[in-house]
Symmetry: C2
Subunit: 314 residues, 2 copies
Amino acid sequence: MNKSKAELAIIDFIRKRFPEKRKEILKGIGDDAMVFRNGFVVSTDSFFENIHFDLRYFSMYALGWHTMAASLSDLAAMNAEPLCALVSLNLTKKIGLNDIKTLYQGFDKLSKKYAFDISGGDIVESPAFGLTITVIGKARKPLMRSGAQPGQALFVTNFLGLAEVGRAVLDKDLPRKQYPVAVNKHLYPEPRIKESGLLKKYAKACIDISDGLSTDANHLAAESKVKIVLDTEHVPIHSEVGEFCAMTGIEPLEFILASGEDFELLFTARYLPKISGVKIFKIGKVIKGRGLFVSFRGKQRRISPTGYEHLKGA
Amino acid sequence: MNKSKAELAIIDFIRKRFPEKRKEILKGIGDDAMVFRNGFVVSTDSFFENIHFDLRYFSMYALGWHTMAASLSDLAAMNAEPLCALVSLNLTKKIGLNDIKTLYQGFDKLSKKYAFDISGGDIVESPAFGLTITVIGKARKPLMRSGAQPGQALFVTNFLGLAEVGRAVLDKDLPRKQYPVAVNKHLYPEPRIKESGLLKKYAKACIDISDGLSTDANHLAAESKVKIVLDTEHVPIHSEVGEFCAMTGIEPLEFILASGEDFELLFTARYLPKISGVKIFKIGKVIKGRGLFVSFRGKQRRISPTGYEHLKGA
């Protein structure tokens, strides 16, 4: 979900106010997760009903899967192997023990698949149903947002925009059968833990697509102090994204630039051999300069972090 | 705040369902914090407006202090030195940037005092104002709830019940000047980080008083598989607690057994030398058996974890 301007102002204030001080800490604020010098990596994410998920179409099982996958995605972006998750449940009276058991089945499916523990947390009464998940992983060599350098290319795993199509289809009650991949992507995104492990020899900088390609590529450019140019002709359009955009009259690239929650990995590398079982698209390049640009028929346009609204105005 | 029966049922379910599996993890669920074998200790706590705090009398500064102190208290109970805190802010539209800045001044006061970092977190829109704090510390030798053995005595730092008196005074708008210590204790509790460091040579099992003496002493007895006997005549009554109980007609011991959020340390030790600057009361003993009991004029009565309601019924 895109951060609002107010939220970005708060992040900016906190980051300036609280630089790293403890010697044990390599990176406090400004990456997908905080990083300890011993390789421990920690990230925390909150999710609330009717803001981040909708129980009209999320089963408790899907909710457990979705929120845990979203949390693990931050570890994948850091090239960290998950060790455990702490869950703080914020419960209203309408959520019963059986709901919780089903929610934890969703967590458990991923905890078994990626071999991490569910380790405690907190349970409190709350005016609104939600949860905060803290995941802890370890990385031999944490992969930061700041490692992009001129001469590298920009890659992304899989297609983008599918999760947002899925959300819209479910939200507007459009025919799900026409968008099976997109619907599944919103309910059951796959954290790219395995892909991250396979890419670690090549990737130099990485972020996960949680806020949308324009916001997240801008983060990479800003943290690395480089210019990133997206090659619009190489951003792949999945057929379900194409159909949805045709139906709604949105330009597919604009849609993809602003669509979050795909939880794919956006990374830079000098080169990339074919890696079996991992779908990877080369969508841009890193050059000297600052900021994010798109190239379209040989011309470059700057893209601000808030995405297609500004692109429209450009 | 006391956990409800429903919340205890959820904790019980999760604990049985998710035992420790990863070799890196010493203790997942069932102590004040989760513990890694490398000495890292992690705890997470959620706080919501009108459930855990009331903005009629909490300034944003006091809220920052209170919630961070409550979170750090779990590290103190584990004998861990705090390294950093991650804060997930759950914001409604009524909370502005200046509120956040003042909230972080409260965090900062404690972060300077105890030399830990504020390291990132999350900021999301929420239907209700709240926050979840994850604290990470390290302990040379983590102090568990499970170390109590027959022959040890039970100790507590400082007086109990003050925080609940303070909360009631503020909530019912009673004259604050008559209860200065209690009011300060509710708004600005002190995490017992320093005391924890001074006690570490002696303490064998420890928990912080967050849910109330009866609940927390029951946890110690259960995790250590021992019987703990509280000596009612030795539980100290602070004058403000005494006055409040006299006014409201509640028996002081019953009040103290059920009053949470003092964030004092309840611990067992074979003996305890006088430690300069730390107020410690011996309030009971550990013997063979199971469960929590109070001794009163030579007779013992069992106390269940939910406190004085059951004591009344006994």
